[in-house]
Assembly symmetry: C2
Homo-oligomer: 156 residues x 2
Amino acid sequence: MTTTPISLPDGYSFRKLKSSDYENNYLETLKVLTTVGEIKQSEFEELICHWESLPDIYHPRVITNNSGLIVGTGMLFIERKAIHECGKVGHIEDISVFESEQGKKIGNFMVCSLAKIAKEKGCYKVILDCDVKNIGFYEKCGFKNSGIEMVQRFDK
Amino acid sequence: MTTTPISLPDGYSFRKLKSSDYENNYLETLKVLTTVGEIKQSEFEELICHWESLPDIYHPRVITNNSGLIVGTGMLFIERKAIHECGKVGHIEDISVFESEQGKKIGNFMVCSLAKIAKEKGCYKVILDCDVKNIGFYEKCGFKNSGIEMVQRFDK
């Protein structure tokens, strides 16, 4: 069962990220989530081109507001495994909502929509990692706590 | 900093998974971890071929014992992101050790080796999800708890 996304506000749209989105608030929206750093337009375009060259793996999506500005981000990537009869797992990453647009269920719509894509693509499950404080948000999107995330960071 | 892998027992080896490993205890080792189901040789070979066609993404590795039998499994896959200056994140998946070979630090060697590959490939971090009961194991491999795993499972 996926949780049906609730509606977006009038004029808002859910769509694929495009290489022409460099100056369309995508990176600014990601900055709400974490460190983005300096990314040149050519680097951005190369990255989108790379993601587009692997359409079974990378599913970058955005939500735009009624001015066409990106105000929500999300990535689904799909991993092919041996376990579960050569099953596929969807990984949801980099969910972020522009600060002035929070409270409009944009994050909920993004997460539910990415989970729906994962199901349509034949994944047996979709997973994500989050802070403890965001568990309630993801529960509303149909997720359950299932384990612990562990990390090892590398020095530059 | 990566944690240096401790040594494997004499005669044991760490290497890439090969399409000729279908009858070499790979799937049996994975079954220690979770449901594997029925996988035909042709399906297995197609999957390995798929992984090998994406060598920057999928890094499936095994540890063999002194009879050449697979006794440890692990996967590193590398995701390209926009955040962290178009950074890369390594995901460690499907760590499993054949039951009769447990207690020989095979899992530790696998995890440390995959983390080392992630660092060499330029990842800024490597992450994995685990059960609460395995936190201590992964701490010995140089990992720290950093969040919560959430899951949504789909009916077939």
